[in-house]
Amino acid sequence: MLPRPEVTPLTEPYWSGLAAGELRFQHCRDCGNAWLPARDECPRCLSRSHDWQVASGGGRIISWVVYRQAVHEAFVERIPYNVAIVELDEGPRLITNVDAREEELAIELPVRLRIDEDDGLHLPRFTLAGGRWSR
């Protein structure tokens, strides 16, 4: 079974958003900063006043790795698999997987959000915006 995130009052809007089909990020009402993962305070102006906004779904690849050996038992059957950093068009960055062949991956490549239901979890993953999907 995939490892489960620890859902707290702070992160609940993030995970329930995914279950509802949208990727949400935090947005500071005072300075306009946008970020993930969830925090109590804006890391730029330290305000506690924030709301959740919905990502448009566009982004780009900052970097990626490909696991050749599994560190956790849930991934033994999944290797090789990639883990990437994607920066959303709105600014926040997140850890994710990109559904693409290894040789297609490159930094700054545009990607598009696809919320997958995987092992009972709703996960924000990405596909290549050019449509070159591996499946």
Binding site: P3, T11, S63, R68, Q69, H72, I95
Partner: protein, 370 residues
């Protein structure tokens, strides 16, 4: 001055607790400095990753039978040791203590290595685990931005393994070729096994005091501390605005300014090599070459004995021991004393780097000669 150094065996040390290893390393460091235990009035201890207990500094102080005026446990991951050395030096220069012991011990090899394999926050469902992958993420970005190749990273491992092969204390004494390197087991692209440091049990300690105190106590071979600095990148890898630059540059700038020298005056370097990319980026951030030019800089054996900048002359984390950092300080001391197994002839200045987390924390030390 670093007046004394000591260490345990490196590798697999079943049955040895971090506290027992700390005591052995300190006993040897005090003997090397020819200082009686009763002279120690400061104790700085790195927390052990394999089993931290609250107020661990007091546990070690009790095991050593000393009552420090100043000290405790510090945690910057792998940057801790040089940072503690610098706090000790600052405390000495402000009259807070006179003879400081800085010590580190850990047993992730026979104990738990959980600290290095954990998931990062809530990102485990994506398969995001472990320290190697964090560095691999940075390495991939560097390769894409600057054209750095895996073979260039391999030059760093080949140099370390060559030096480790002739160091009788090294845990791994098996030299490799570039071909061996590229064919070693894939771990997490772009890294294969030989990009990654050892996992080791062991301890190392140093004794720090003023020049005057070293003279009074008759320390036989004190090595001057010319400069030190620190810098912290702090953001997690995924949140960091730039993956290929770190606060190592800030740390080195502070240390070089204090020492009154620049990278061009460095004869030998001991650069934290938890992964090959760490050395490459440290060379860039320290100003040994321009940002992005680390690959060409390390090519053609530049880091090997006889090369342009002999680096990690005891084998570093890749070959001597995976211990986070103190072994590099010890090798810097040996180079300045002229007693290294891979002595750089005529070396008068050595720079040492420590860093922790996924390039979160950094500390720099510049050593010289009397």
């Amino acid at each position: 001055m670093i007046a004394g150094v000591g260490h345990t065996a490196y590798g697999k040390l079943p049955g040895r607790s971090p506290t027992s290893m700390n005591v052995e390393a300190v006993r040897k460091a005090l003997a090397d400095a020819r200082v009686e235990k009763d002279a120690v009035d400061a104790l700085f201890v790195k927390y052990p990753t394999s089993g931290h207990v609250p107020m661990y500094g007091q546990v070690v102080a009790e095991a050593l039978g000393v009552q420090p005026r100043i000290g405790g446990v510090w945690d910057q991951g792998g940057a801790t040791n040089i940072s503690m050395l610098s706090f000790a030096a600052m405390a000495i220069s402000h009259g807070q203590c006179e003879v400081a012991v800085v010590t580190t011990a850990d047993n992730p090899r026979t104990g738990t290595r959980q600290a290095y394999e954990r998931a990062w926050g809530d990102d485990a469902p994506f398969g995001w685990f472990g320290t190697p992958a964090g560095y691999a993420m940075i390495a991939r970005r560097h390769m894409e931005e600057f054209g750095t190749t895996h073979e260039q990273l391999g030059e760093i491992a080949v140099a370390a393994r060559r030096h480790g092969a002739t160091n009788p204390d090294a845990q791994l004494r098996a030299p490799i070729t570039l071909e061996d390197f590229t064919q070693s087991r894939p771990v997490v692209d772009p890294f294969c096994r030989d990009d990654c440091c050892l996992i080791s049990d062991g301890a190392a300690a140093i004794v720090v005091m003023s020049r005057e105190r070293a003279r009074q106590l008759g320390a036989p071979a004190p090595v001057p501390v010319l400069g030190f600095g620190q810098g912290q990148t702090s953001w997690e890898v995924a949140q960091r605005p730039t993956l290929t630059e770190t606060a190592a540059a800030v740390s080195a700038h502070t240390a070089f300014a204090m020492a009154g020298i620049g990278p061009e005056q460095v004869d030998v370097a001991q650069l934290y090599d938890c992964f090959t990319i760490t050395v490459l980026m440290t060379l860039e951030d320290y100003g040994f070459c321009r940002k992005g030019q680390g690959g060409p800089f390390v090519a053609d054996g530049a880091l090997q004995l006889g090369g342009a900048l002999p680096t990690n002359t005891s084998g570093g984390l890749l070959s001597e021991t995976g211990m986070p950092g103190m072994q590099l300080v010890l090798e810097g001391v040996r180079q300045m004393r002229g007693t290294s197994a891979n002595q750089v002839p005529g070396a008068q200045t050595c720079v040492v780097s420590n860093q922790g987390g996924i390039m979160h924390t950094h500390s720099t030390l510049v050593l010289g000669q009397e």
